[in-house]
Subunit: 297 residues, 2 copies
Amino acid sequence: MPPLQAALAQAATEIDATLDHILPAAEGPEAPLLAAMRYAVIGGGKRLRGFLVLEGARQFGVSRQAALRVAAAIEMLHAYSLVHDDLPAMDDDDLRRGKPTVHKAFDEATAIIAGDALQAMAFGTLADEETHADTAVRIELVRCLAKAAGARGMCGGQMLDMLAEAASEPLDEVQVGRLQLLKTGRLIEFAAEAGAILGKAPSAQRHALAAFGRDIGAAFQIADDLLDATASAAETGKRTGKDAEAGKATLLGLLGLDRARMQAERLVAQARDHLDSFGERADLLRDLAAYTIERKS
Amino acid sequence: MPPLQAALAQAATEIDATLDHILPAAEGPEAPLLAAMRYAVIGGGKRLRGFLVLEGARQFGVSRQAALRVAAAIEMLHAYSLVHDDLPAMDDDDLRRGKPTVHKAFDEATAIIAGDALQAMAFGTLADEETHADTAVRIELVRCLAKAAGARGMCGGQMLDMLAEAASEPLDEVQVGRLQLLKTGRLIEFAAEAGAILGKAPSAQRHALAAFGRDIGAAFQIADDLLDATASAAETGKRTGKDAEAGKATLLGLLGLDRARMQAERLVAQARDHLDSFGERADLLRDLAAYTIERKS
């Protein structure tokens, strides 16, 4: 197995173990809620965001335990956003990560509440003493997560996505870029930056990692569009071809296959440039940048 | 106007001004999201939770600015929970605080996202430097809010409520008590405690305020049941008679009118006892305890 794949698999295992430790067991009167939260977040996904936290933190010698808890918090936040995005009133999806979406496996009310509770738990995990970091570091993590997740971040992007579907005019390239930066970019940016916050890195290195995250986030999104257009549900574990079906404006649709691929490659090169001041220890992050556009799912 | 009513009105005005300052203007491409967030949280409600923060903070000489921001954060969290509770998949309500619910005034997707963004903003507001409190205080506030809002707090209570509606057997007194403690009690408890956290109060006084909050939260809930059973929608600004309609087990239903009233009175007396170590400055809190069961809406 190439080093990146081995590291990704190892990270996914450790992040799952951390989530399993943080999330209460599905017992007692609220068992269905806890079961839905666990179903939504444990054992699925590429853990791109969590891996970024772990690798970012490793650059600055941060303890694995602290990094894993922050990685778990960001994966909870990401999982909640998927649960709500899949709801009938939103994207109305039945399949996610190769299994039924939460509102299909449970019901709609449980999916709404489980998403809400995962968001609260993401913030609680960052704030908790068990996340071995001083209070100034933890409060900065909370502040940045709130920004990445809120009305000028993920929620804002989700709103733009809903508005675009209802609009009579398709979005242009600038509007699609902004939508994607908010909807997925801000959280990936924060994931890349979180290790630097944990490691109290100099501001230049913190900004370099944030910029790295922003670029691979954008590349990742184009790769997602390409997969949606060209791969099957069996390969990706979620419904494909849905962008075209929904008449959704994507960079792929606006640029065409060749120019979209070129732009993704340019973003990957740019992302790697941001790591110039980092040594060999950042090689897995460099490999990850390339991987975002080579992946098959 | 009696002192309590004047203080409640004054607090509501200041909390609204603080919310108006914190929430971005409804401008730009995400305007509908910001408009829905503002619609959900500004200019409505009794501000019981916010008032508890302000009065708790006043016992310890906390700056009004810090207390108002924490009050605003808790009101955002509370407002998000109402927006999601009112959704068709949950309680399916059309009326709230005398106006159409968010999914009626906007649409379902916007209501889901606005609730999500309000939750993120509640945590972000506590974490922000503008909330003039040191990092240890702010992180403690975040930690406690996450606990009050999560799977073992408000979300857990909401889940129990949904399960109770689907169950073949009605809940018993102990189960209803637990449901209400989680669904509304934990956040009211935290609101009462937050001022003590801000003021770095001795642990005995912090616990006394938390216990005060727990008791008036429970009394408030019984009073809500009584209003739902006896008042009209015009008086309360929301649909009434819905508990009976839904065959919902309430303490009122289980205890009967007289015993429910007696229990509420006992809780109010107990709440006031918790304030014994506080001086005259806590008189408004003592009045508030009585008001919870005397109010007409």
